[in-house]
């Protein structure tokens, strides 16, 4: 077998992760919804990624911080203001924890189901990501670890933007 550059290996591994994650995907209650991206695209090539986010406890602190930002940012405020923020934060902690290969269980709904009818604009999607980046910087999560997580989340845009 020819030697593959490590970058390509990493890309190939990251590409396989959504497929591996399919087994743990939340069930879809509405048969008219077909997800375009996995809700739990587990990052399988780095067992220690969660540590860089401070473990599950770190994710809790991150969510407490970023939720305040999402509520304060006018582009993301409408999507969180009337939600059960405690529940949303807990589900996002579990979702991120699973994606980061942590020992957690996500019991929320699929992204496609959660965001249907919310009419999230691309600008609001990016605003959410940028507020998350600001929080992750503040929590001293390494930039490359941040990008691993955001790369895993990015395809969910297909189930979130303009749905």
């Amino acid at each position: 077998m020819p030697k593959i550059p490590s970058l390509l290996t990493t890309i190939a591994l990251s590409l396989t992760s959504p497929a591996l994650a399919q087994a743990g995907e939340p069930a879809i209650s509405d048969p008219s919804i077909t997800p375009r991206a996995p809700t739990l695209p587990v990052i399988t090539d780095n067992e220690h990624l969660l540590d860089q986010f401070g473990g599950r406890e770190g994710l809790v602190r991150i969510m407490d911080n970023v939720m305040e930002r999402w509520l304060a940012n006018p582009r993301t405020h409408p999507f969180f203001a009337s939600s059960d923020q405690v529940r949303v934060k807990r589900q996002l902690v579990d979702q991120f924890c699973v994606i980061l290969h942590g020992p957690c269980t996500y019991d929320g709904r699929a992204m496609a189901e959660v965001h249907r009818g919310m009419n999230v604009s691309e600008g609001s999607f990016y605003a959410l990501v940028e507020e998350l980046q600001v929080t992750l910087n503040q929590m001293n999560v390494p930039f490359r670890a941040q990008n691993r997580l955001i790369a895993a989340l990015a395809p969910m845009s297909r189930d979130i933007i303009d749905r």
Partner: protein, 341 residues
């Protein structure tokens, strides 16, 4: 007056000396009797950068700040896509790196937004200088229209050529780019790049020099290009490849076509950039050029650092290495500022 002097300047002197313009004027004078075999009119060569507005570099960016927009559906938004994922403005006015257009649509406008940008790029050396400025408008992360003006000042070399001191060759470049498919940022589970096609119309204002003295065939022409850009976010890496069909000599500054080759040729441009943080990226670019005028045009190569303190401002500094041009290696600094809204 300038045109009159142009006529009195022998074609051979002008061609040879222009090709060796990176050398000192004494070399230029000697070059008149030698065949023009080296490349060299490289307007991006500089030895000292034009003064960069350093206030932009020292703008304190407070990461604690909140998003700037005040409406989730603003048509004309300062926010939009992630910092630095819109690239900067390349030397011909298109969204891209410094040298090469990228498939990314310039500005941070999202799929339902209008974006506008303006740029100014300066290079400067003892022998010559280039200023380029212009603007672009983009809509819906789909189409980008741009205009740029390049002023290439021969400084003292112009006087040595009999063109007059501070002689300037200018060209205006009107560009259009359309994103065909793909999203370099969002499609992180696919290897499919974002692909765009573009066209640039270049109009050189000195036909007397580029056609009359240098033997280029035309003073205006179209470039056509296709660009593919992929951001491997998990690696914090951006990769771009551009293929360009062109007849331009030194980007068009020396006209189009020539006695050696007057046909379109396909040239390659490659860029890689590493995102270091939300605000900083470093990278490198490579660009080949056709050899129409009877000498080998050196490929252009640069390493750059781009800094985006906020969505509206990106500052780029580049170090350009043009290899061994004529008798000495040419190194350059390049400075550019972009404002986007």
């Amino acid at each position: 007056m300038i045109n009159h002097k142009t006529k009195t300047c022998s074609r051979r002197v002008a061609a040879a000396a222009l090709c060796l313009c990176a050398l000192t004027t004494s070399y230029v004078a000697q070059a008149a009797d030698e065949p023009a075999t080296s490349s060299a009119l490289s307007f991006d060569t500089v030895e000292r950068a034009e003064t960069l507005n350093t206030s932009a570099l020292t703008l304190a960016e407070d990461d604690m700040g909140q998003g700037q927009a005040d409406d989730s559906r603003r048509f004309f938004s300062p926010g939009g896509r992630l910092l630095l994922t819109g690239g900067v403005t390349q030397i011909e006015g298109a969204g891209g790196g410094g040298l090469s257009p990228w498939a990314l649509i310039g500005t941070y406008g999202t799929r339902d937004q209008l974006g506008v940008s303006a740029f100014a790029t300066g290079v400067n050396s003892e022998d010559f200088s280039l200023s380029a400025y212009g603007g672009a408008i983009s809509y819906g992360n789909r189409i980008e229209l741009s205009i740029a003006r390049q002023n290439f000042n021969l400084n003292a070399v112009g006087a040595a050529l009999g063109l007059g001191r501070e002689f300037t060759i200018s060209q205006t470049i009107v560009g259009a780019k359309v994103r065909l498919f793909g999203d370099a940022v969002l499609e992180q589970d696919s290897l499919l790049p974002q692909v765009s096609v573009g066209i640039q119309f270049k109009d050189n204002n000195q036909p007397g020099v580029v056609i009359g003295a240098l033997a280029a065939r035309d003073d205006n022409d179209f470039d056509y290009y296709v660009s593919a850009t992929k951001i491997f976010l998990s690696q914090s890496l951006l990769v771009n490849a551009t293929a360009r069909a062109t007849r331009a000599n030194q980007f068009g500054i020396l006209g189009f076509g020539g006695p050696t080759n007057n046909d379109y040729s396909i040239q390659f441009e490659g860029s890689v950039a590493l995102l270091l943080s939300r605000h900083f990226a470093i990278g490198s670019e490579y660009r080949t050029k056709p050899d129409n005028l009877g000498f080998k045009e050196e490929d252009a190569f640069d390493v750059f650092i781009a800094y985006a303190p906020v969505h509206n401002i990106t500052a780029t500094l580049a170090y350009v290495d043009l290899g061994n041009v004529a008798l000495r290696s040419q190194h350059a600094l390049y400075a550019s500022l972009q404002f986007a809204f």
